[in-house]
């Protein structure tokens, strides 16, 4: 799973969002490191939709335009959880190898 796809799925983890809502949420989740352009976002949404990981939720009118909301499917939720476990395990290994385990490491990092 790419980093962008991971962030998009994470942005939908706590509820449906429309396109720009996902962009904003990804900026927040990544602490400003990932700023998805619309072309990139819809490339990711298209792929996740084709893989059955997300699906349209509803449409709402806003300033004369329709906003389409997307939500995770059960498969998307499962895939995101597996990816989170994988990344978390990898991060633990990296931190252990760097000697950053324990509360003092957290303090040093903070």
């Amino acid at each position: 799973m790419t980093g962008q796809a991971f962030f998009v799925l994470t942005a939908l983890a706590d509820g449906p969002r429309h396109g720009y809502g996902i962009v904003r949420e990804v900026v927040e989740l990544s602490q400003g490191r990932v700023k998805l352009k619309i072309g990139s976002l819809y490339g990711v949404l298209d792929r996740l939709s084709a893989d059955g990981l997300i699906e349209p939720d509803r449409e709402e009118a806003h300033d004369g335009r329709l906003r389409r909301y997307y939500r995770l499917t059960a498969g998307g939720r499962r895939a995101l959880a597996e990816e989170a476990d994988l990344r978390s395990a990898t991060a633990r290994v990296v931190r252990a190898r760097l000697g950053l385990t324990g509360p003092e490491a957290a303090g040093a990092a903070g």
Partner: protein, 340 residues
Amino acid sequence: MSGDLDLEQRYRRVLRLLPGYYRDKWEEDMVAAFLDGWLTGDPDEDSVTMEYDRPTRQEVVSVVALAARLYLGGASAPRRYFAWGQAVRNAVLGVMLAHAVWGVGQLALFARSRHLIGWLPPPAGGFWPMLSYATGYAWIVVFVALVLADHRTARVLAALVLGADAVTVLHEQLAGTLVSPFASWAYLIVIDVAPVLAMAAFHRDAPPVARRPWLLALPAWYLLVSVPVLAAELSGHAAWVPDVAGQCCLLVSVVCLFHAARVWAGRGGSGVWSLTLMLVAAVTALYRIISLPLFLQDPHLVKVDLVELLILAVAVALVAPDAIRSQAAAPAPFGYREPG
């Protein structure tokens, strides 16, 4: 005033780069998300934004990148885009294979310079010949990396080789040693730059390359084509050997004939290989045409070159109907469910 278009229309104009099936599915959504990022809800401010602002370069680049990925489709793309994607990927591999074969030839010359092979002529020394050998070896690595799906290595190395080749051509032009600067620069663009740019077709949706046949093609081409050609040249029969562009014309023609026979026997597949051969033949024909200025002083050689082009055109005509078949009847795009 910034033209007659407002921001929404300017963005929709950018979105026209995308395939029709994709726009049908996503355009309204993309426009809504795009405008959400610009508009504040303040009517005065939004009015100015709509009139004067335009999509940023990064937004346009993201749409161009998406368009490239969609037109050169992966496994889930509609049939015609998948066929183009596969044909471009195969054609790029074919051109990289030709470069790699040349690299193997350079390797043999280098081995000769180290007295590892006794029967080859010794290569010239100096910085520029050594740079030429280095780029030759690099093409081998680019080809193998592409086949093994290490796209990043292939792209980075190919970009370095392009830079080295451009510097070499520039050096030769400034030194006045180029027979035809047009031919050299055109060669660089058609044979080097265009295929490297077309590596964009190797995106994450692209199906994996069949490794074994492509990797076997490298020694097979060298042993079955390059070595006999070299042997003919060394045994005093160089006059009978076509130049490299001519060899490529004849080789592609032979492959077209074999493939046409497979098509007629009903074993031609989906038409992707016919489309591939048409692309490779187009590059080969351009290669032949841009090298013509090198032979203008010899009308006989120009005639030979034109005959090679004619043979290539006839051979390609045999696979063209099958290639067109690969573009027919695109099915509906992959499953998208409307809400509710």
